[in-house]
Symmetry: D2
């Protein structure tokens, strides 16, 4: 039985970790960490957990925590994890960081886009980018995994097969993404009040969103071409879900069937990436509550571009589910353990 | 492994049965019955099931079906199940009927409120009302279970402890209930379009809703007093969830603590009924996607009335989850098998 | 042209006042008061007002304000208005207070339910409860109007005809009310975040909500009978709208037609109260954005109770619209001036 | 007083015409046309109009209608208007067609994208594309106006200043658009049920949506360059609103301030197009219920592209409001008559 500690268990992603791990037969949560709710019963913060979680929230003392558990999930704001990890901790526990701290290899890129000083750049090289579909073998060996961002996961998986095949002009890619509101976190801000979000849609972080370099780095890596993208996220009045609509120009003409075959081959055997039948667009409702990513691609004969699409639950495959997928790999379990819940509809 | 057939698998309750049974280790769906989608892949109707359900929808031929399965769920419109069951079928399979056909013992009450002629009143006596928390032992022996209605389940469980204790004036009860829109079914009606339901709330079926006599019969049975209620359902702009706010006069004065103790005793050991701490009101968000019912009660010292409250997912405990709970009992499995998924939030 | 000042113009009710007054031919806003946004352009707070309102937010200095305007609306938290008004101010301007400070005649009731010390109880007698349909003549003469609460407006107008006719047992009344989320205000609280409110419904303030004594006082006044009620508000995932479902016992049997006739007579000539046709239930979507209240009543022959229903926009008839209706009366304008916008659907 | 007839008054756009015209001092609706509701009181179809519209729905007999009114709005499915108009009718009344029948000059383009045979191609040349901001003078003289589509209105106005200035590579444009659900109409389809739309977002009509050639024609006209675009609409869980996020490459480098100046100049004096301050993204909530379009533009220094954004109410500026704006021009009224209602928030 894997003993688990969660730092940041009282945010939306942290709570989703709890939900998933309660159904995981090989893991047991030993530490519900929180900054704001230390001493409060966890089920008082999230009443869905009433009778299911009797624990009291604890703090963020990693020194103490690493003595009690085998793996620590950090579902915390950017900049925290990198100041907490050190050799002592990494020698005792595995770390799966849901923040951005270890996602990019170049510390300058991190510091520029995040406006933070990185607390432990010496681990950037070692950290494994935990996109299991791509880095499965590295994850198995890792002691520090950078869990991918929600937008990057969905964006990358939507584009990956074409990028890998060298069929995309990597300077032509435009990613127009849409996210449910849980992605904005549980902080009490006027902009996230019900009446401010409901019945509206907006773009935000236009040309400046911090997931941009993360996507570029992964696509550069996959394609072997320097990738520069436009990335525009939008806030959608729904709780969960990310939809990516990405556009790109082909480097040579090829038929839609050939393109779709690349997707099927790239994701052959992948349990959590579902290549939809031709002509069917991904919709977030079909993946809600699950670890699945639905992808598809359509070629526009008129413009020569491809439209690459993906849908995913931002809290599951985009955060907690992918984190558990990483944990499973790191501990030698079947990758899908605890992650087979079907999407909840409606 | 229990072999399962579902008649009406392409409605919302039917699909929820599929979702739940996919996670049930002791059951396997052998027949996805549908009236509108015969010949269509099930996953084309509900794309959340893509890669999870390869089956093609079949029809409603109970004669054929009962040769292939151990239990049949009928998630069909009122009046269908009662015309389909007969001695041959009941000798071969167990039936769990999610419609109202076998919920009331008095055929006249059924025919008056539903405006239908009952197709097999000879089974009304035998049929067991499948509210596990009350009729657990009878369900274990049953071959025909009437799965309770969504509003009745939540209403009854909110009121039951006080009714059983004889503390309620059974003529004083007013039940004001609120339901998410999945309760209205998947039929294409203008009234259920997104733009008609969104950003609005309304009462419907005022003084005439067909769940009224079902609730009255169960409360009469629990209290030993003839019960006549006001029941008013409301349509709420959300997918899932039922909230019940019920009002009643006490037959004698007693303190709120005493009243709450009755609830705790009545539901002691019940896994799926959660009596919330004093002062905490049930909210549907805390039970969504799960088989839990959250209940609580508050006494109004000024008026001498009690306010009894319950929240539940109408598709789970109010339909498919309770049906599986009944199946588990009927087949000698632990009652909670396949039903322990925590509520999904947000 | 009436010169208007608004204290609390940056809350939802304050902004709705602005929206309505922009379409009012006889009024002009001279002062956009705010506590949090002094010095900020009003249109930076509410961008719907971009190009429509060039003004900068000012503070809450009533002494200065009363020199510049003819009427002041106070859309502020409870307890503020009563500390601001004095003889000097009242001699110069008319006050329409959207808070609860002057709604109840008995200062003890106010102080008990609101947990505040009243700042100027000497004006309680003079203040007119601004429910135009009942107190029209008094409002015309008033210099201080207490604008009714949102729940009380809808509750009272739903019940009033039967109460006035003496046909209701005034101890039997139960009001189950449902409100959109704008009623919770624009303060940044976790409980009002999108993901906390969306896809859920809950009761709150059960047996203790502060609108209870206000409703009781008005119904006592209308019926001549001491009225004690159960009042239970619920939070609904929608922006605007209040729905009231009220239950009461008749003091003598009478037919539904007779009861409906009482409604039609009571509201004969009332432009903003619409008695719906028999059998049609009010729905909040049909009044959104407008000053209309839709009401109806149904008798339950089985229980002898009546179900009284009302729907209204909480920000218009429940706050800003009613306030403007009061202003119109106080300044001798046609009552409906600036208030004839049809409901916005969908 | 302009006498108005509406064909298709019982759809969402038709109802919005009614709402707007009820507040228009110079127009009066004489004919509420409907296919499905002939003989039904209009207020029974849309109860927001109870007490406001006493009329009974009539049919679609244009011969009779043109004797009674000065202008006819056709808010009907594609293909109807073009089969109804003829010289007799056009000699007696002005026609404002909200369908696509007269939007494109090339009948082949229409017939290819819409899969319909055009009923009266002889009027294509005469028909004026009713985008007032561009064709104001032509609209004043027109007897047949093609009211622009919702997506084209918002897309075009978001891109127009740069296209007109010759600064955009007209083969580089990608329009990613998002619409509320009222755009899908009031037909009873499963796909538009509340539970199917709520809590989800999807792309649809990818590479094939029929608004594509309309946008291309208008941009070609504005830029003098043949324009070929990618256009992807998405369905968003909200009632109203369209958001456009468009991407394009510049033909020469120029600073964001210069670009923004083009927008300010292009829309100088335009009452209904609001160029937002630098850095502020359009949001649909700020225009809901109004005739305003909010636009802005941002340059991405990294990719050299511009991101052009627009937000609008699809039923107002995208349909009924723009139609009334056209009517005002055609009848010599101030363009904004009846259209000054501020956006409704929240």
């Amino acid at each position: 039985m894997i003993k688990v500690g969660i730092i940041g268990s009282t945010g939306y992603a942290g709570q989703e970790l709890v939900r998933i791990l309660l159904g995981h037969n090989e893991a047991e949560i030993k530490w519900y960490g929180s900054r704001s709710y230390v001493g409060t019963p966890y089920a008082d913060v999230f009443r869905n957990m009433f009778t299911l979680v009797p624990d009291i929230c604890k703090g963020e003392d990693l020194e103490a925590l690493c003595e009690e558990v085998d793996v620590i999930f950090t579902a915390t704001p950017q900049g925290l994890c990198s100041t907490l990890v050190d050799e002592n901790i990494l020698s005792k526990v595995k770390i799966i960081d849901l923040s951005a701290d270890f996602r990019m290899k170049d510390v300058n890129v991190y510091e520029k886009w995040y406006g933070l000083t990185h607390g432990s750049p010496q681990y950037l090289e070692e950290a494994v980018y935990g996109l299991c579909e791509v880095n499965r073998e590295k994850v198995r060996q890792a002691r520090l995994v950078a869990n991918p961002g929600c937008y990057p996961t969905c964006s990358f998986l939507s584009i990956y097969p074409l990028a890998k095949a060298g069929l995309l002009d990597m300077k032509s890619i435009i990613i127009d993404a849409k996210s449910g509101t849980s992605g904005a976190g549980r902080g009490a801000k006027t902009a996230n009040l019900y009446c401010e979000v409901n019945e509206s849609i907006k773009a935000y972080g236009v040309t400046t969103h911090r997931h941009t370099p993360e996507i570029e780095e992964q696509l550069t890596c996959a394609s072997g071409q320097e990738t520069v993208i436009n990335f525009t996220p939008h806030l959608v009045p729904m709780n969960r879900g990310i939809l990516v609509t990405a556009y790109g120009s082909l480097t040579r003409d090829c038929a839609e069937e050939e393109i779709r075959r690349l997707y099927e081959e790239a994701y052959d055997g992948e349990r959590f990436v579902r290549v939809l039948p031709a002509g069917i667009c991904p919709e977030t409702r079909w993946v809600e509550g699950s670890n699945y990513v639905d992808v598809n691609v359509k070629k526009d004969e008129r413009t020569g571009r491809v439209v690459m699409m993906g849908a995913m639950d931002n809290l599951v495959k985009g955060a907690a589910g992918q984190a558990v997928q990483n944990m499973n790999l790191m501990f030698g379990l079947p990758e899908y353990t605890g992650l087979l819940m079907p999407p909840v509809f409606p």
